[in-house]
């Protein structure tokens, strides 16, 4: 067959530029060397993880085992459990730890209770347009400064402030105000994971439950809630750990109350006792580790 007859066939003519492999020696090397691909991909994030998480945490742990010479205020780098002994023996630390845990639990319970119906409405009831608007509405407060939001609550809760006008009266500055403010600030972090896991529940599951005879309340309890557990747990971990570590809100609307964060702040700053601050900072870390292990045991994260 001559070249001309082949070329006259429709669809047989080919532009030589489209033929043959694309010459990229680097890509070819990468394609062959799986370990090279992996290490190129992961080296930067791994280095970052190592530096930020592992090294910083190790430094914290080591610092908490040092002590401060009470005369010279110099850090004494010999190993000692004195800081942890202080935490256990001194009643102040126990009280503050329990108070912090209580606030964190209250904030988490309130947030989950508010987030569930909002997330359900967003994911299953609202039209796509309303849903988009609500997602934006939930996300927008995250752009506003944390301090501005807390000070706004200070104004709302102040004597003669907005809360007084409503007729309910203001709780005044104190732990209640801390719970209210923190519940407000961390709410988006609870709504979003619950919303995300609700969106993954197909509508047909809810219809099927209704079809099999379950009234709406029972559908929620027996089908929706169990499927939402991973989302609820994720949201609860956010609000709980963020509240555990907060110290600014307490300063602004908490009155004279102190939380663990305040103790860390005071000891690392004014009291000039960095080792004790490090030891106090270990408390929320240990609490979260215990909690996460417990949650894992229940199998709540299996469907994540």
């Amino acid at each position: 067959m001559s070249a001309t007859s082949a070329d006259t066939r429709p669809g047989r003519t080919t532009d030589p530029a489209l033929r043959g492999p694309v010459a990229r020696p680097g890509s070819r090397l990468l394609h062959r060397m799986v370990w090279l691909r992996l290490s190129l991909l992961l080296s930067a994030p791994l280095a970052w993880m190592l530096l930020v998480y592992v090294v910083a945490l190790a430094a914290l742990l080591i610092t908490s085992l040092w002590s401060v010479d009470s005369l010279t205020s110099e850090i004494d780098r010999s190993w000692t459990f004195d800081n942890f002994r202080t935490l256990v023996d001194n009643e102040v630390y126990r009280t503050v730890t329990l108070r912090t845990l209580g606030v964190a639990v209250a904030v988490t319970v309130i947030d989950v209770a508010i987030a569930l119906p909002i997330a359900f409405y967003m994911a299953k009831v609202a039209t796509p347009r309303v849903r988009r608007m609500l997602v934006v509405a939930v996300l927008t407060p995250l752009w506003a400064s944390y301090l501005v939001k807390v000070f706004s609550w200070r104004v709302v809760l102040s004597e003669g402030g907005l809360a007084d006008w409503t007729g309910f009266g203001s709780p005044g500055y104190g732990l209640t105000a801390v719970v209210i403010t923190q519940a407000y600030i961390w709410l988006p972090y609870v709504i979003l994971p619950i919303f995300a896991s609700l969106e993954r529940v197909p509508d047909s599951l809810l219809e099927a439950a209704g079809d099999l005879g379950a009234p709406s309340g029972l559908v929620l309890r027996s089908i929706v809630l169990p499927l939402l557990v991973p989302g609820i747990v994720a949201g609860a971990i956010f609000s709980f750990s963020l509240t555990m570590g907060d110290y600014i809100t307490v300063n602004i609307v908490g009155g004279a109350n102190q939380m663990l964060g305040n103790l860390v702040y005071i000891n690392a700053g004014a009291a000039n006792n960095l080792p004790l601050a490090a030891a106090i900072a270990m408390i929320p870390i240990v609490v979260m580790l215990v909690l996460l292990t417990a949650i894992r045991r229940t199998g709540a994260l299996d469907n994540l």
Partner: protein, 359 residues
């Protein structure tokens, strides 16, 4: 709430099923904003019938099913089940159960708990509901998989669990929304047989939604062909296939040769649109000069393409005056009977096989 499972049907219609059709739709209409999904559907489905709703996607067949189940509220018209008006009732108040296209099995429950869910909702004791669920699973031959999670099952097995979950409640009517759509061909054919057997054994009314015309033809007692929210034709599979009422039905159910009014006049010498099924055309090689016999139409044509189907050949033809035809030839086991591209052939078919269509 504790109802015995089979009671609602019997108490709701004293006097029994014979008095009323299982399902009765009157003037049913459903609109979403400006879009009319279902328009003026009147339909009676008899007790124990295997009834199919056939149509392309968007033709309104699934919406009708959802209106019967109660997932959608009708814009106008009524839905009656066994003689009682349920137009405004919630899904959980209706004695119909649905098998969903995606099966909608509860992922956090075992297969047995899935099947027992409807019984649990009705407040049945644990031991008894487990026993009944186990029996229902036996019915669909999955008795050994009760402890598994739905995620651990194959598509065909999930399909059967969905069936068991519905039939354990002994409904009078089972609604099936493209239940075989997600299965591969082999499994699908097997499930078709099982569905048909199950329906016959249990005597339940099946309302089956499908876009697969072959599936509808093989399974159903009666078929409603849907288009644009309306029923285009209602009849037995034979009626639908042999005597399609419109060009739409003829084209959707099986392949067909459609003659528009002008072509009908020229070729057949009659007015109006007509259709001939491809398997009614007979081909013979070479052009034929004999005068056609009484009651026979004869055309000269050229083979455009021959497609081997395994069971036979599909031959695409063009007549001398430019009409496109399709013929189906059954394989007879003889050697190569294939017509070749460009070959002249004579096409014959009986006038009796020409179906007049109302446009």
């Amino acid at each position: 709430m504790s109802l015995p499972t089979s009671a609602p049907a019997e108490t709701a219609t004293p006097g029994g099923a014979a008095d009323h059709p299982a399902i009765s739709l009157r003037g049913l209409r459903k609109t979403y904003g400006d879009v009319v999904a279902v328009d003026h559907v009147d339909l009676d489905i008899a007790d124990g019938e295997f009834f199919s709703m056939l149509g392309p996607s968007g033709s309104g067949k699934t919406t009708v099913l959802r209106l019967i189940a109660g997932f959608e509220q009708a814009t106008a018209g009524t839905v009656e089940l066994g003689g009682s008006d349920v137009t405004r009732s919630a899904p959980f108040e209706r004695d119909v159960h649905t098998v969903f296209q995606d099966y909608a099995l509860f992922p956090h429950m075992s297969v047995l708990d899935n099947v027992a869910y409807g019984l649990r909702v009705r407040g049945m004791k644990k031991a008894e509901r487990r026993e009944r669920a186990r029996q229902a699973l036996e019915t669909v031959r999955l008795g050994h998989l009760g402890a598994r999670r739905p995620a651990q099952l194959s598509g065909g097995q999930r399909q059967r669990v969905a069936l068991a979950r519905a039939i354990v409640l002994q409904p009078r009517v089972l609604l099936l929304d493209e239940p075989l759509g997600a299965l591969d061909l082999k499994l699908r054919e097997q499930m078709q047989v099982e569905l048909k057997q199950l329906q016959r054994e249990l005597g339940i009314t099946f309302v089956f939604v499908t876009h697969d015309q072959e599936e509808a033809l093989t399974l159903s007692d009666r078929i409603a062909v849907f288009d644009a929210g309306r029923i285009q034709q209602l009849g037995t599979p034979r009626e639908i296939y042999e005597n399609p009422s419109s060009a739409y039905v003829a084209g959707f159910v099986g392949t067909t040769n459609l003659f528009d009014a002008e072509t009908s006049q020229r070729i057949l010498g009659v007015a109006g649109e007509h259709a001939v099924r491809p398997e009614r055309l007979r081909l013979s090689p070479g052009s034929d000069t004999e005068t056609p016999r009484e009651g026979e139409v004869r055309l000269d044509a050229v083979v455009v393409e021959t497609i081997y189907l395994g069971t036979g050949n599909r031959v695409h033809l063009r007549t001398s005056d430019g009409v496109e035809l399709v013929a189906l030839e059954q394989s007879t086991g003889s050697l190569d009977t294939r017509e070749h591209r460009g070959e002249d052939v004579t096409v014959r078919f009986a006038r009796a096989d020409v179906v007049p269509l109302s446009s």
